[in-house]
Amino acid sequence: MRSEAGVGLKLGAAAGLLFLHLPLVLIFVYAFTTEEKSYQFPPPGYTTRWFSAAWFDRPDIWPPLILSLKVALIATVLALIFGTLAAAALHRARFYGRDSISLLFILPIALPGIITGIALRSAFDIMGLPFSTWTIVLGHATFTIVVVYNNVLARFRRTSQSMIEASMDLGANGPQTFRHVILPQIASALLAGGMLAFALSFDEVIVTTFTAGQQSTLPIWMLNELLRPRQRPVTNVVAIIVIAVTFLPILAAYFVTREGEHTAGSGK
């Protein structure tokens, strides 16, 4: 049953897609512009000097970039461990209030980042925790755990419980069963969930603003950079790097999970 869409609908769809993706093209274009104080279209000329400027003249790029990578990496590792444990616990156990606890796990990703941010900030204040890399990581873990949790839970639901019993029946203890049966079953879900978690953490701004203290992650550095009138195209060069770092894992996660089923939890 295929129906042909009308011309108006086709144009509307095309316009929508252009509206979504043209700004991305502009980011690439402005990385090569010769005008450094404002974004002027069309660019008066083209140059590649901002790439070398970013590399040689701007040591201030590196601390935020390294911080962002570090935070994303730690938040992803935490998510892999706790997301998997949470999914395993809630998949197997049957107890009163299970659905409520499941909801509590998913809630942080549905909650606006600003709420999460304010809540965490006041919580850190009350606990007297000084803001540091670790408070950023904790902030990010609130949503990266959900991503892994959802992916792994979906996989557990497809894995027959009797497979674990079969492994035990054939002589394997808990750790052996985890290594030889459970881990291979959830490996691609972990990969997909982990990459999504990394990408989400790497470009997170809102929660980070409230939990970072004096440090700047890369997205916050970029935001600040746009307010300054010098070497603006350098920001675009960095933006291209960010696109590469976040887009490639998401793309990879998409291909990894495509053969299996589609998993929820990719919307933040």
Binding site: S160, S162, M163, E165, A166, S167, M168, D169, L170, G171, A172, N173, Q176, H180, V181, P184, Q185
Partner: protein, 336 residues
Amino acid sequence: MTTAVSLQQVSRHFGPVRAVDNVTLDIAEGEFFALLGPSGSGKTTCLRLIAGFDQPTSGHIEIFGETAEGLPPYKRNVNTVFQDYALFPHMTVAQNVAYGLMIKGLARTEREPKAEAALAMVKLSGFGSRRPSQLSGGQRPRVALARALVNQPKVLLLDEPLGALDLKLREQMQEELKALQKQLGISFVFVTHDQGEALSMADRVAIFNEGRIVQAGTPADVYERPRSRFVADFVGSSNVMSPGFSAAHGGPNAWTSLRPEKISVLKATQAPGTGLGSADGPVIAMHYQGAVTRIVIMAGDTRLTAAIAAGAAHFAEGETARLVWSKDSLVAMESP
């Protein structure tokens, strides 16, 4: 005769539900033992208690004289064939079969020939390099069987392993399983809700209802001498007569079972032979079932069904038929 598995007053309660309720059972070495019952009757829970996937609420379980309760599945010398086979999809058939040997720490060179031999035993030689997803419905239970048997268990537990197969394949697998069990000489504990399967394969059958064993014995025992209406109805089909009806028709003054195939059907005008029991009534249904035809009559308010060879007699609905049986065929039961 050595006792392979012994359950002594074993119960397993899930909250208020008594899934297994005070079950006592001895399974001999080398015996093909069927646990038969409707779904939810406790037979699978019983099997899981023997395997170690579940622990009894109370009671005592011994496997070859050793206390089993409290032991995890990997410390028991029993293996299980699961209802859904539970093959590992990320491994080849050969890796599946060799799994138990790999866990035991056998070198690859040792376990591969053993796995291949186990596959040959279930007639799957040469399938080792396939994935479980590439197997047909009839091949999967064989892999599950080979994977369990390669560990040389003393007791093999089978949880409705043929339930998913179509009739032809199921009958073929029943024969092969029986032959395999004889050849290996180990105990098979076989869970099924299919009474035909239990009767044709097992040396002994335990019939479960609501968590309890209601009767146990050889297939002929439980079929010929049902002790309750439940057994009479569940194992095959039966006419259950009230004590009053039975006594009025030459039977004992007790709840009585009469198998449909023990009944012959006469026209109302024909006299029954001497010494035979009989009842007359209008025919309310004729069910043609291929090899047999089932004739249902109402004798007063008792419904009686006779199974006769197809074409042996013909009645119109409403016509009076005379059902005749030998008094030996009436089996007095202990409870209704």
